[in-house]
């Protein structure tokens, strides 16, 4: 195999695909990139057996074929090369030669047959979603993914594809995010739990500009295609908890709170609250929301925010980190907080929008 490729294109492809390389692996081949030269393009692939990433790079193919090369070494080398064409070739002993002007780099590769095949995704369900919609929807849900590996199901985001669109759901059992998103087009319906890591990786690949992402879902895998990049991930098997059951259907108190001001107050409160399991107490006195936090080691904090209140005064404790998480992804000027009691879940929504729901379980008062 022998290809000639612009350094910039090659470097981008290597960096993107390289995200699927596992940094610590007992299988040396998983630290390698697979490069395959076909007719007029170069495919660069990597996998850690959980997710697989493939990039297609335009190249001048001198000789078709394939090779593997250690991802890290190649990435570092490319980073230092000037902006010109790079030639990559391999000999029979799997030694990869990367040359650029007078720089020649010979790297030991591995036989490309050793590289695990990326699975073919036999799609049963597919949809197309706008870049910005997918990116935003992941942003508003991924922070509530559980980090507890012992409950694997909660380390992913539930993707519900219906005739009406896409629903993304995440929970760590203390809070729940539900984001509805419109689809450009869709075929079939499915519930799939996508590992949080795959979701986070895809947001790095999806460009900021206009455009769409194509998603295909098979019983065990999901495939995202965006531009020249493809990400394949296994799905998490199992039953996602019945999230609809825990979304309160009614409330008896409601606050409308200015987002930015509330967030600033919570940030300050959190400095004290972090010493006390992040506990922040919220109470209202007529039109004022008073936030307090106390810690034996640090002291006390007190903040006031003017709010609009419906119903009686409230007093409730929340984990201040969980409040900050949601406040930092809500973009409307105000939020609506619906409450029913000091040990009942609260619902937080961006004011005037019904496509996002954050259900937050309080902390016990004392």
């Amino acid at each position: 195999m022998k290809v000639i490729c612009a350094r910039k294109d090659l470097y981008e492809g290597v960096q993107t695909a390289g995200r699927a390389v596992s940094p610590r692996t007992s299988l040396p081949i998983l630290g390698h990139l697979l490069m395959t030269a076909e007719e007029d393009r170069l495919r660069i692939a990597a996998t850690d057996l959980e997710i697989g990433m493939e990039c297609i790079v335009e190249a001048n193919i001198q000789e078709q074929g394939s090779l593997t090369v250690p991802a890290r070494v190649l990435t570092e080398f490319l980073a230092e090369l000037p902006e010109t064409d790079v030639t990559i070739s391999v000999d029979d002993s799997n030694t990869v030669e990367v040359s650029c002007g007078t720089s020649i780099f010979s790297i030991l590769g591995l036989p490309s047959e050793e590289f695990p095949m990326l699975p073919e995704v036999r799609a049963e369900v597919s949809f197309t979603i706008e870049n910005v919609v997918l990116r935003d929807s992941i942003k508003t849900t991924s922070f509530a993914i559980s980090q507890d590996e012992s409950r694997a199901i909660l380390t992913g985001i539930l993707m519900q594809v219906t005739e009406n669109g896409l629903k993304l759901v995440s929970t760590d059992t203390h809070r729940l995010c539900v984001q509805d998103a419109p689809l450009v087009e869709s075929l079939g319906t499915v519930n799939a739990i996508v590992p949080g890591r795959a979701m986070n990786e895809i947001t790095r690949v999806v460009p900021y500009g206009a455009g769409t992402v194509e998603v295909k879902i098979a019983p065990n895998q999901i495939m995202f295609s965006v531009g020249s990049t493809t990400l394949i991930s296994r799905l998490i098997e199992g039953q996602f908890p019945n999230f609809e059951k825990v979304i309160p259907k009614e409330h008896n108190r409601k606050l409308i709170v200015p987002t930015a001001q509330f967030m600033q107050s919570v940030k300050r409160i959190a400095i004290v609250a972090r010493e006390n399991a992040n506990r922040a107490i919220l109470r209202t006195e007529d039109g004022t929301l008073i936030l307090t936090a106390e810690s034996g080691n640090v002291g006390r904090a007190h903040e006031e925010v003017e709010v609009i209140k419906e119903g009686e005064d409230v007093k409730i404790a929340f984990n201040s980190k969980y409040l900050l998480d949601v406040l930092s992804v809500i973009e409307t000027e105000a939020i609506e907080v619906e409450l029913s009691g000091e040990v009942s879940p609260a619902v937080i929504r961006p004011q005037g929008k019904d496509d996002y729901t954050y259900v937050l379980m309080p902390m016990q008062m004392e």
Partner: protein
Amino acid sequence: MRGAIAMNQDRKILLVDMNSFFASVEQLCNPCLQGKPVVVGGPVGTRSVVSAASYEARPFGVKSGMPMMEALARCPELIIVHGSMRKYVDVSRRVFKICGDYTDLMEIYSIDECFMDVTPTMDRFGGAWSLAREVKRRIFEELGLRCSVGIGPNKVLAKLAAGMQKPDGLTEIRPEEVRCVLEDMPVQKLHGIGEKTAARLRQMGIATAGTLGRASRARLKREFGVLGDALHDMGNGIYETPVVPYHDKADVKSVGHSHTLSQNTRDWNVLSCHLLRLSEMVGRRLREKDLSGRTVALVVRYSDMHTFSRRRTICERLDDGYAIYKVALSILREQYGDKRAIRLLGVCVSNLAKDSRQLNLFADERDRKLLDTMDSINDKYGEFTIKRASLVKTERCDTAVGFVA
């Protein structure tokens, strides 16, 4: 002078020792028992021993730690009362509260003993002696209980002094009296010297504290290592370990309970019942302290005294006795292969963290409410007033030993 005594002459340490505590509390609660030989302990015919004997029982030779059968043989009219730990803990707290009025430097040593460093406060009460009298007076007037108080320049001597006059004693060992007191004192009377150390010392020809003080440091160090220094000092009445108030103590690292069964058994139903009871006790203590833990350890002692302990760490934090039981039971099931009869079971939870009290969206709050309700009933009416039906038939567990490490 050889081995100059570096004793802090100004320190005054008190040891308050409640006399025959459990038995006295029982006599206090039930006037019919007053003036009679009373012991607290489990029923006769079981493995139970005397936990405490009233002063009326002592002339018969009845002592703590004696098997109940023997106690009864020595004193046929002995009244046996089943102890109630809750009662003792409650009274004990009241005693310590009174002691705490006289100094912040109070170390709770056991349920019926505490050390008080009164050095900084005694002048306000007219000196250590009158402070001690005041403490004794209040404990008697407010609680109706007698205690022996020892005063000394350190904990060892205070403990020694308290033991010199019982019941209702007040004894001071002054710095200048230390040599004289220690001269013929058997070494095992010194606080911190157990039987094994005493036996080793006797082999070296050291039987009294006086001889211990005169033995060369080097010789003691050769025999006991770093402990040799401490022993030498103790023989000279030097023991500078401070009184450590409770709130300065390190955080609780584990919570556990163990129980010696009344009869060795290999009966799975009996074993699992006991395991459940111990687990419930551990759960309750954890909740009381707002703690939950991820590591459950099971201790099993077979009839031949062979003991093993296995632990398992799980992902969830536990403070519910039943959940702890399920983990402990699974360990027992895996480890208990040879079907030897079991004598003792213990359950311990470690890897603890303060409960953040973050509520769970998906938790079945009914379980939590049930636990909270059971806790408040048991708080008010005593442990195991309300319990799982499977525990109805288990024997009393009041003699179980609780430990917090």
